[in-house]
C-alpha cells in the first residue's frame, strides 16, 4: 500500500489524544473500557481491511463517483450531504477542542474568536487546494512533528515517575462487559480510513493490501491505544482520573526535561499537537468541501467573471465554527464528540452494505458492456 494511505489512517489515530477519546476511556476505567478497547481493535482492523479492499478495486475513483454511477439521485444526494456535514463536524470538534486548549494553557488573554480564526485561516487552505497537495502537506508536517511526538512518548515511558503498578491495577479491570461509549470512542481511532472516500482519487495505481499491511496497521493501533490509555494512568493513578479534563495535557505537564531548553514539556507537546490537529482539520474539511462539490456546482456562481462560488463553503464553515466556539462549553463539547463517535460507529459499518451493492452493480455494468 502507498505510504500516503498510512498517513491518513495515522493522523486520525494520533490526533485522538488531544480530543475527547482518552477522557471517555478513562472515565469508564472501572466500567469496561479495556474490553471495549480490545473489541474495538479487532472490529477496527476488520473495517480498515474491508474499506481498503473495496477501494483498491476501483483505483482513482471516489465514493461519490461510484455512487453516482450506480445509485439513484434520491439515494446518493442525501447520503453525500450527510457525510459532508459529519466530516465538517469532525473537523469542527477538533478545532473547538484545540481552541479551548490554547486559551486554557497558552494564551489566556487572547479573545477566543481570534484564536479560532487564526487556526481557521491556516486550515481553510485545505478547502481550496487539490487532493494530492493535501497529501503532500500532510507528509511534510508529519515528517517534522511525528519523530518529536514519538520522542515525547518514549520519554513518558522511560520516565522514573511513571508507576507501573497503577497500569497493572487498571489492566486488571479486563474481565468486564465492554462499555458501549468506550467502544465508540476507541473505534473512532480507526475511522481515518473513511477519508479514502475522497482520497482514493489519489491512488490511481492498483494497490496491494495483504496480511503484511493488516498486521502493520494492527500493531500501530494497539500501540496507540495502549499509549492513549495507560500512560495517563501510570502518571495519575486510577482514582478520580476522570477529574482530569485533558488527561494527556496533564500527563505531558507531568514530564520534565531536566536539561532541555524548555523544562515544561507541556508547551512543546501543545505546539506539536497543534500541527497534528491542523492536519486532522485540514483532511476533514477538505473531504467535506469535496463532497459539497459533488452536490452543488459552485463554479456557476460568478460575479463579473470572478468565481465566487468556491468561497461559499469555507465562509460557511468559518461562520458556523466561530459561532459554536463562542456558545459551547466543555461539557457540551464532550457530549457532542461522544454523540459523534456513536453516530460514526453505527454509520460506517452500515456503509459496508452500500459497498456490496456498488460492487454488484459495477460488475453488472461491466458485464453488459
Amino acid at each position: 500500500m502507498s505510504r500516503y494511505f498510512y498517513y491518513i489512517i495515522l493522523i486520525n489515530m494520533v490526533a485522538n489524544i488531544i480530543a475527547s477519546v482518552p477522557y471517555i476511556l478513562l472515565h469508564f476505567y472501572n466500567d469496561g473500557s479495556i474490553s471495549a478497547m480490545i473489541i474495538a481493535t479487532i472490529t477496527g482492523t476488520i473495517i480498515i481491511t474491508v474499506y481498503a479492499k473495496f477501494f483498491i478495486q476501483f483505483p482513482g475513483q471516489t465514493l461519490p463517483d461510484l455512487l453516482k454511477q450506480t445509485t439513484a439521485k434520491w439515494f446518493y444526494a442525501p447520503l453525500i450531504f450527510i457525510m459532508a456535514v459529519v466530516w465538517f463536524f469532525a473537523g469542527m470538534i477538533t478545532l473547538i477542542t484545540f481552541t479551548f486548549l490554547l486559551i486554557r494553557y497558552l494564551t489566556p488573554e487572547m479573545p477566543i474568536v481570534l484564536i479560532s480564526l487564526s487556526i481557521i485561516l491556516s486550515v481553510i487552505l485545505g478547502c481550496f487546494i487539490k487532493t494530492d497537495r493535501v497529501l503532500y502537506t500532510i507528509e511534510i508536517v508529519l515528517l517534522l512533528t511525528l519523530p518529536l511526538i514519538i520522542y515525547i512518548f518514549l520519554k513518558a515511558y522511560t520516565d522514573p515517575n511513571i508507576n507501573w503498578d497503577f497500569v497493572k491495577e487498571a489492566a486488571l479491570y479486563i474481565n468486564q462487559m465492554p462499555n458501549f461509549e468506550s467502544f465508540t470512542a476507541s473505534f473512532y481511532l480507526f475511522l481515518g480510513v473513511a477519508n479514502l472516500f475522497i482520497f482514493n482519487r489519489f491512488f490511481t495505481i492498483k494497490q496491494k493490501f495483504g496480511w503484511k499491511q493488516i498486521i502493520t496497521i494492527f500493531l500501530i493501533t494497539v500501540s496507540t491505544l495502549f499509549t492513549t490509555y495507560f500512560v495517563p494512568i501510570g502518571f495519575h493513578g486510577t482514582e478520580n482520573i476522570d477529574h482530569l479534563i485533558y488527561p494527556w495535557i496533564q500527563t505531558s505537564d507531568s514530564l520534565r526535561m531536566k536539561y532541555s531548553l524548555i523544562e515544561r514539556v507541556l508547551f512543546v507537546f501543545l505546539l506539536f499537537y497543534l500541527c497534528i490537529a491542523f492536519l486532522s482539520m485540514l483532511i476533514h474539511w477538505h473531504v467535506s468541501v469535496e463532497y459539497l462539490k459533488y452536490l452543488f456546482t459552485f463554479e456557476k456562481i460568478k460575479y463579473r467573471g470572478f468565481n465566487l462560488g468556491i468561497f461559499i463553503p469555507p465562509t460557511l464553515f468559518t461562520l458556523i465554527s466561530t459561532y459554536f466556539v463562542q456558545v459551547i462549553n466543555e461539557y457540551h463539547l464532550f457530549r457532542l464528540s461522544s454523540f459523534l463517535n456513536i453516530t460514526l460507529s453505527v454509520f460506517f459499518p452500515f456503509m459496508i452494505i452500500v459497498f456490496f451493492y456498488i460492487k454488484r452493480r459495477m460488475k453488472y455494468a461491466k458485464n453488459t458492456k
Binding site: 472501572n30 486554557r104 494553557y105 494564551t107 489566556p108 488573554e109 487572547m110 479573545p111 481570534l114 487564526s118 485561516l121 522514573p160 515517575n161 508507576n163 507501573w164 503498578d165 497503577f166 497493572k168 491495577e169 486488571l172 479491570y173 474481565n175 502518571f235 495519575h236 493513578g237 486510577t238 482514582e239 478520580n240 496533564q250 505537564d253 507531568s254 514530564l255 520534565r256 531536566k258 523544562e263 515544561r264 507541556l266
Partner: protein, 371 residues
Amino acid sequence: MQKIQSKLLIIFSILFFLSGCEEFKDIDKDVFVSMIGIDHSDDNEKPFKVTLKLFVPTSSFRQKPEANYTYLVETAETISEAIRILETHIDKELDFGHLKLIVLGEELVKENKNKEVLDFLLRRPDIQLISWVTVGRPNAEEIVTMVPKGETAAYPSLYNYFDGNGTESPYIVTMFLFDYRRRMMENGLDPIIPIVEISENESTFTVNKSIVLKNRKTPYELDPLNTFIFNSLSMNVKIADIEVKQGNEHFVAKIDTIKAKNKVKKQGNNKFSLDVNVELIGYIVESQNALNSRDLPKYSKLLEKEAKENLESFFHELQSEGLDPIGFGLKYKAQTFHHKRMSIEEWNETYKNAEVNIKVTASLKSTGSIQ
C-alpha cells in the same frame, strides 16, 4: 499582470493580522512568582495566609549578581481571593508559569486543609504539575521569605535541593505536584512530603525529614534515617552512606548502587507477606580500625546485618502506624482482580499484620584507597 497585483494585495492584507500583538502583555508587565507559601492563619474567617515570592527584574547580571525578591503576604477566605487582593498590591500582572516550589505550612497540614489546597493547585492551568511540594517548618512564610547566603539571582537555592542538579542527598524526598495528587487520591499509596527547616545558624535550609499523611489526613513525621530508607526503597535513590557498628568493627560504607524490589506475596487465605529485596554495592570510606581487603566478605555481612536491622525497625514503625508510603496496598491491587480485592479497611488490617521478609545482599568491593 493584474492577477499578480490582486494576489499581492491579498498577501499584504494578510499582513495586517500579524500586527495583532495588542492582546499579549509585554514581558516587563509581568512579574514572575518563584514560590508560593500557604499557611493556616488563626483567623477563623480567613483561614488561608498566602505568601508569594516574586523575582525582581534586574537589568543585567553584572550589576546585581545577588538575589533580589519582593514578598507579598495576605490572608483571606480562599487562596484565590488572597491572590486577587495581592494583585492590587503590585503594579504588574502576577505570572504563575514559573512557579516551581509550593510550601505548605506545618499548621496547615495538621489542620487538614490539604484537599482545598490541592484543588487550587490543580485547577489553575498555569501552575506546573512538575512543581515541588514541601512542608515548611515552623511555617511557610518564614521559609519563603528567607534568602540563604550565596544565593544567585534568578535561581532560588531552595530549588537546588529538589531539582536533582544540585545536591543529590538520599535524605531529600522529591515530591512533584502530580505525584502528590495521585498519592492523595489513591488508597494504597500514602502521600509523603519533605519538611524544609531553617538550619540553626540561620543561613541555609535543612531538608532531611518528611511527613507521611496517614489515611491522607493525619501527618506522621519520619526522622532522617527513615526518610532515607524510604527514599532508597522507592524513590530511585542510588547513592548513600551507611554507618555500620557491629561488634568491634565500626566503619562507614559508601553505597553507589542500591537496587530495591518490593513485593506483596500471598500466603494462604487472606494472609500476605511483604517481601523486600535490597542489593547494596559500594566501598568503605571511613573506619575506626585498620581493615583487611581479604575480609571484605565479612564486612559485607556486617553491612547486611546493619541494613537489615534498620529496615526492620523502619517497617515495624510503618506497620504499627499503618503508614504505606511505598505503596504495598497498590501493589496488592496490581495483582488481584478488581472483584476479588478486599475492602480498604480489610487491607489496612492485613497490612498491619503482614509478615515482612527482608533480604539484603551487600557486596563491598573495596576498602577505599587504604587498607
